[in-house]
């Protein structure tokens, strides 16, 4: 009996609170960022770092500048545990608060579930460094922004880096690359691009799958060792990464020949592998380290005043933390650019969308923001929502990441037709009219 009563009481309480949440009005001259964050579950390390960095940057803007042209940034968090239905529940809950600027779930599953919804609600969805590759095509996906890097560009960036290690793209001919990928759609996504590039440059590629979650990789690495490749690309996620490095050591494959992708590039991926990770290299769109002006500023203005979001100060400047900071820069600058056009006030979702579509930060502007060498540049346009992000590569020395490459550009020209083919098929399937640039300039209220 008690259980039923408790259930009824809690249900009633929940109902009351949900009504209350809906009824709360949004303040004027505030721009709201709903954060569908994840601080628990298997990917919590990445989540705490990323959302920590994002919040730190927004805090900086608020305390240092008083907001963006006087418009204060506000946010709240809703725990998703990286699960799709929680992400959806958070979305439905948070969208009742007015003036959401953009959604940043840092989860590909949640992002997919949101694509239809945000298109109806007309609020941008930012999927930095990941997401649905064909959402790069802004003609079909007006509200989705896979900023800086989509999976195809990432592949091209890695191949270009390997070419630079060999001397030139021609020297890739005859080389052997194994891609060890996570057994999920994310892992498989880039298989066609590797094949395309292999055909173009004359190297052989072998794809080997690691079933989720990747605790056991013995047979895969024995196969790799037998194949004797020149390089192994690690396209992992979560526990698969440290296990890969440890198993590589176990079978005697050198870590210096392993190159990791964007989701295998963080401290949390290498530290559990101990010294097996020394010499391992990984791609990144933002360099790690706390020496950049903006990071130093955050430490001085935010952490030294006790307002920092990361619990462990040693993680300041880590890959995920810096990704959060860069994401913060991109979101805030989009708002700033939109405000120049529409007025220095709270913006609607569609206005923010316009802002993102004009988010052009060249190296000079990036330096002015205090992020020189932290990330390279971005050049979003109405039909290119990725923004031509540059990548660099870092090598782990056992204690920290060290940049070992210049900024490299992926081969966007090569990839664009493939992306358009996929997005046009999506548009056909869903009966979406392909936008024109004139329509993109038009902002609804």
């Amino acid at each position: 009996m008690t259980s039923l009563k408790t259930l009824l009481r809690t249900a009633a309480a929940g109902l009351v609170f949900s009504i209350a949440a809906v009824a709360l009005p949004a303040q004027a001259d505030e721009q709201y960022f709903p954060l569908q964050s994840y601080r628990v579950g298997p990917y919590a390390a990445g989540g705490t770092g990323f959302f920590g960095g994002f919040i730190d940057y927004m805090n900086l803007i608020n305390t240092r500048d008083g907001g963006v042209n006087g418009v204060k940034l506000t946010w709240d968090e809703c725990e998703t545990q990286y699960e799709v239905e929680r992400g959806v529940e958070c979305y439905e809950r948070q969208k009742s608060r007015a003036n959401a600027a953009a959604w940043n779930p840092l989860s590909v599953g949640i992002a997919y579930a949101m694509i239809d919804r945000i298109a109806t609600d007309k609020v941008p969805l930012i999927t930095v460094n990941h997401g649905r590759t064909d959402s790069t095509d802004g003609r079909v996906f007006p509200y989705v922004f896979p900023l800086l890097l989509n999976p195809y560009s990432e592949t091209s960036g890695i191949v270009n880096y390997l070419a630079s290690k060999e001397g030139s793209l021609e020297n890739l001919k005859g080389k052997k690359i194994v891609v060890l990928y996570h057994g999920s759609p994310y892992g498989k996504e880039t298989i066609p691009i590797y094949e395309l590039l292999a055909q173009k440059y004359g190297f052989t590629v072998q794809q080997i799958e690691v079933p989720h979650p990747g605790n056991e990789q013995q047979s895969q690495w024995l196969t790799i060792r037998r194949a004797k490749p020149d390089y192994v690309v690690l396209r992992g996620w979560g526990v698969m990464n440290p296990v890969a490095l440890k198993t590589a050591q176990k079978v005697g494959f050198p870590a210096t020949k392993i190159v990791g992708n964007v989701w295998s590039n963080s401290e949390e991926d290498v530290i559990p592998a101990g010294d097996a990770a020394i010499g391992y290299t990984a791609i990144t769109t933002q360099a790690s380290g706390a020496d950049y002006p903006i990071v130093k500023e955050i430490v001085a203005s935010i952490y030294d005043k006790g307002l920092g979001n990361l619990e462990d100060k040693k993680r300041i400047g880590s890959v995920y933390h810096n990704l959060g900071i860069v994401n913060g820069i991109l979101n805030v600058e989009a708002i700033r650019i939109a405000q120049e056009k529409f007025g220095k006030r709270t913006l609607t979702g569609d206005e923010v969308r316009w802002g993102f579509e004009h988010l052009k930060l060249d190296e000079a502007k990036v330096a002015a923001l205090g992020a020189k060498d932290l990330f390279h540049s971005i050049n979003v346009s109405w039909d290119n929502h990725e923004g031509e992000g540059y990548v660099t590569f870092q090598q782990w020395d056992g204690k920290k990441w060290n940049v070992v490459s210049d900024w490299i550009a992926p081969d966007w020209k090569l990839l664009r037709p493939i992306i358009e083919k996929s997005s046009e098929a999506y548009a056909k399937e869903k009966n979406i009219k392909i936008r024109t640039s004139a329509e993109a300039e038009n902002v609804l209220n």
């Binding site: 009996m1 259980s3 039923l4 259930l7 809690t10 249900a11 309480a13 929940g14 609170f17 949900s18 009504i19 949440a21 809906v22 964050s37 601080r39 628990v40 579950g41 919590a44 705490t48 709240d76 968090e77 809703c78 725990e79 545990q81 799709v84 239905e85 929680r86 959806v88 529940e89 439905e92 809950r93 009742s96 590909v108 599953g109 997919y112 579930a113 694509i115 239809d116 919804r117 649905r132 590759t133 064909d134 057994g183 999920s184 759609p185 994310y186 498989k188 996504e189 066609p192 079933p211 989720h212 996929s422 399937e429 869903k430």
Partner: protein, 349 residues
């Protein structure tokens, strides 16, 4: 199990019908009219899908006593099958695709249910895990299932029954509600028929059942088939009405456990148990996180709350198994009979 079954066709007892009919009226009219978008999108739709899955699993595990840890795999089969039928066969009405998808799930259910002819208890549970892992792998590996989508996800089509289009959150709610009502009624009919009694006989004492002439093999396979059919359709609802886009990872082992928890908490061997259990499972995390963020705000990590939720959920399972193994349904029944005694119904002792 204390009660043989909690749902008996009570015959001419009119009061027994009051509750279900009242609930249906509320569900069809009041909820969509007064309910906020949030209520429908984030609470009612997952509730409906999970309840239906619970109803299906209950037929198999509650009534027929065959433990299955792979229910999420059948949801996945249903969802992907419906997508493929709808996408590949032009002009096929959606509702036919849904029913065919249920049929495919039923067929897969029979295949993975075959071991039940020789295995019992844990061994059967472990073999249903084979279904779980194999199906998830197959759906991810073979791009054909998701139409070679580079991200392996399927997008839901527009929903329609017999030409009437159900769009918008209210529309999808009605779509789901109609299907759930129809299939729940169907399940109830099965449970109260001879088939249902056969299920219970097989569950309680297989040897005796065989002795009195129950066709044990056929009964078991029928349980798997019917249960998987319903769970498959529940998967379609989950994918089409609720999430609108789905990848195989969403139908993982955690989901299977979730459905099992639903029927344990709700009450095994009852139809309404699935609804009680699903209500708790859906509402509880939301309520907890709302209360938490309301009371504690920025002070506490949202993570702390969520770990607590995991603990409380596990503790609830244990508590229910110890204190009230017949679940919320039994609690509900006791409450209901107390009300009826007060009302003074003649059929109560």
């Amino acid at each position: 199990m204390a009660a043989i079954t909690a749902d008996r066709a009570d015959g001419p007892d009119a009061l027994a019908w009051v509750a279900p009919v009242a609930i249906l009226i509320v569900a069809f009219t009041i909820v969509p009219l007064l309910g906020s978008n949030y209520l429908i999108e984030a609470i009612m739709l997952p509730f409906l899908a999970l309840s239906l899955a619970g109803v299906g699993l209950n037929l198999l595990t509650g009534y027929a006593g065959q433990v299955s840890l792979g229910s999420a795999a059948f949801m996945a089969v249903g969802a992907f099958a419906a997508f493929n039928f709808n996408f590949r066969i032009d002009g096929l009405p959606l509702i036919v695709s849904v029913m065919l998808a249920g049929g495919v799930a039923a067929a897969v259910g029979i295949v993975f249910g075959l071991p039940s002819l020789r295995l019992k208890g844990f061994y059967l549970a472990v073999s249903t895990l084979a279904a779980q892992f194999f199906v998830q792998w197959a759906l991810t590996k073979f791009g054909w299932f998701s139409n070679y989508n580079p991200s392996g996800v399927i997008d839901a089509p527009a929903l329609s029954i017999a030409g009437i289009v159900f769009e918008g959150s209210v529309g999808r709610y009605y779509f789901a509600l109609i299907i759930v009502t129809a299939l729940t009624f169907f399940a109830w009919r099965v449970a109260t028929s001879q088939t249902g009694r056969n299920f219970i006989a097989v569950r309680d004492n297989e040897t005796a059942a065989k002795f009195i002439g129950v066709p044990v093999l056929k009964t078991k396979l029928l349980a798997f088939a019917l249960s998987s059919f319903i769970i498959g359709v529940a998967g379609v609802l989950w994918a089409f009405a609720y999430l609108r886009t789905v990848e195989p990872a969403g139908f993982n082992l955690d989901r299977s456990f979730q459905i099992l928890f639903i029927i344990i908490i709700g009450g095994l061997a009852t139809i309404r148990g699935a609804f009680f259990g699903a209500a708790l499972i859906v509402v509880f995390p939301v309520v907890l996180s709302r209360i938490g963020s309301f009371l504690l705000g920025d002070m506490f990590d949202s993570g702390v709350l969520d770990m607590s939720e995991r603990i409380v959920l596990g503790a609830l399972i244990i508590a229910f198994l110890i204190l009230e193994p017949d679940g919320l349904a039994a609690l509900g029944r006791r409450l209901w009979s107390r009300i009826r005694t007060k009302v003074g119904s003649p059929s109560e002792a």
